[in-house]
Structures are given as structure tokens and as C-alpha cells.
Symmetry: C2
Subunit: 153 residues, 2 copies
DNA sequence: TATTGTTATACTCTATAACTATA
DNA sequence: TATAGTTATAGAGTATAACAATA
């Protein structure tokens, strides 16, 4: 519960709207039985198949042990396959056809979520806002497609 | 770790930038030995003195039991006093002079944080962005000054 | 000796429910 | 009986450290 001093500034509004968007996205995903971490991994593997779990952990900025649990769940659902990597220590991760379908559902939810979050803004306002947020994300050095953008060393 | 489909949209960028801002604010506050929840309560009590702990819990959207721990900490530091309310069951909460000083430090950190988050944007861009975020927060029905804006029922 | 995936453990944050004292 | 504050407990979520297999 951080707060603004008197009138909220940009930093506070970003924190507030970001928490709101994150919560709404999780809610929108819930009926499909998908959690945000699972959605994030599906997306990453769709773009870059063959990643190892260590690669995934580095890309997501989480501990490798955390990846184990998420991949376990994905594998139990038949959405991801752990196949042999070049090195016999590593798992090469890839989406199965069912995983591709699951990602399709995630993409549909994300599209609806985007509409819901920006509802009430005119098209010109949306473009303006998108451009400003993109610029700010670039200035802050945030990696496209990976949330949370903030990593503690 | 929610993610965008291909190119991040407004919803994803808000989530990403919001998480970044939240983390940076906590980091900026840490050297002063203050956590974000403590900062939020200091601010709320400064604006509305005499609140009960139940009032506080409702305003923040957290469980009353959570408020106990935060107020305990504030009281141990001598920043907040639990005084008798009209009803002998309730505590009327108020900032002490030391609490006012602590709030001053929080306000200074928040000001620096605002500058850091918006660094690199031109003054005109800042105004544009602030106006758009204010509009979006109003559209989403977010309560000014309270984070997180998202409450689960 | 170093690295990958795994397991075990602990820590943080928060909510729910039970308890007490008032009303 | 209902409500304010408190305490106890439990559930997420995550990190750290130890471990076995492989390099």
C-alpha cells in the first residue's frame, strides 16, 4: 500500500493501474484454469522453443527451483514436453499441439483484457498512451514480454 | 509473469511499469527503514486523523488483522498513538509529532521516486502521460491514494 | 570441479477463524 | 447478539541450500 503525497503522480498511478491490470488479467485467465505464470511460460516457449529450464529461469528472472513446479504442471496437462537436450543434463522444453491450443486461449483472453483495460479511451488517446508507455518502458530498460520487469540482484 | 501476445499492449505495459515502479519505491524507502504498508498508513492518517483500525482496513482493502501488525510497528516507533475512541472498543489512531516527521521523509522519498520514474520524458510528455493515466484511473474507478486499486470481494 | 534439474526447507505476506472485551 | 481489536493458524508464493546425475 504505497501512496501518493497529495495528488497522485505518474509513479503512483502506474503502480495502481498496474496492480489493477495484473489482478484483472489473473481473474480473466482463471475460468480457463490458467495462472499468470503458466501463461507467461506458454508464451515464451511459443516464441523460443527448445529452451532449457535454466534458460527459462534466467529469462523470467526467477529461481530455477520455481521453474520446476511450473513445468511440472505444464507437463501434467500435456501442454509442454521435456525432451532430451544436446546435453543429457538439460531438458529441451517445447509446446505440444495441446499446448499450442492452450496458448491460443491465453491470447484470446489477453486480447479481451486489453480491450477491457482501455475501454472508454478514444482511439487517439490509446495510441498516445501506448506510445508514451512504450517510451517509458524503453527508458527504464524493461525487457519486452517479461513481467515483472523489476529484478532484484 | 503474465505476458503479451506479440507486441505488448497497454495492459501489459501498465502491469510491467507498475511492478517496476512499486519495486523501486520499496527500494527507495528501505534506507529510511520504512516499508510501503507503513508509508501508506502514515499518509492516510495524516489526511484523516482519528480513524479506527476497522476504518483503516476498509480504506486499504486489507483484513483488520493485517492492520494490527502495521499499527503495532507504527506505535513501537512512536509514530502513531492508539487513543481512546468514543466507543471503548475502538482505537482512534493519530500521528504523533515524530510520525509527522516520518511522513515528511516519506514525502521526500516519493518526490524523488516520481522524478526517477519519469526521468527522460520531456515536460510535455509528462503532462500528457499524467492526464491519460488520471483519466484511465477514473474510468476504472480506482480510489485516489490507495494502492492496490484492485480489491477482491 | 562446474552445471542441470530436483528436492527440502524456510521465509514473507496475507487471509480466515477463534477469542476477549465491550456494546 | 453484534462489533472492535487481537491472536493463532494456515495457505500462497518465492528463495536458498543441499543433492544426484552428468559434463
Amino acid at each position: 500500500m504505497p501512496s501518493s503525497s497529495r495528488r497522485p503522480g505518474i509513479a503512483f498511478l502506474l503502480a495502481q493501474l498496474g496492480a489493477d491490470a495484473t489482478g484483472r488479467f489473473a481473474d480473466a485467465l482463471a475460468p480457463a484454469g490458467i495462472t499468470p505464470p503458466v501463461a507467461g511460460v506458454l508464451r515464451l516457449l511459443r516464441v523460443e522453443a527448445g529452451m532449457s529450464q535454466q534458460d527459462l529461469a534466467r529469462r523470467l528472472g526467477v529461481a530455477p527451483s520455481r521453474v520446476v513446479a511450473v513445468v511440472d504442471e505444464l507437463e501434467e496437462r500435456g501442454w509442454v514436453a521435456r525432451t532430451r537436450g544436446s546435453d543429457r543434463r538439460t531438458n529441451a522444453l517445447a509446446l505440444t499441439p495441446a499446448g499450442e491450443e492452450a496458448f491460443g486461449r491465453v491470447a484470446a483472453v489477453a486480447a479481451g483484457h486489453e480491450r477491457a483495460v482501455t475501454e472508454g479511451l478514444a482511439a487517439a488517446e490509446r495510441e498516445q498512451l501506448l506510445a508514451l508507455l512504450e517510451r517509458l518502458a524503453a527508458l527504464r530498460g524493461l525487457v519486452p514480454g517479461v513481467h515483472p520487469g523489476y529484478r532484484r540482484p
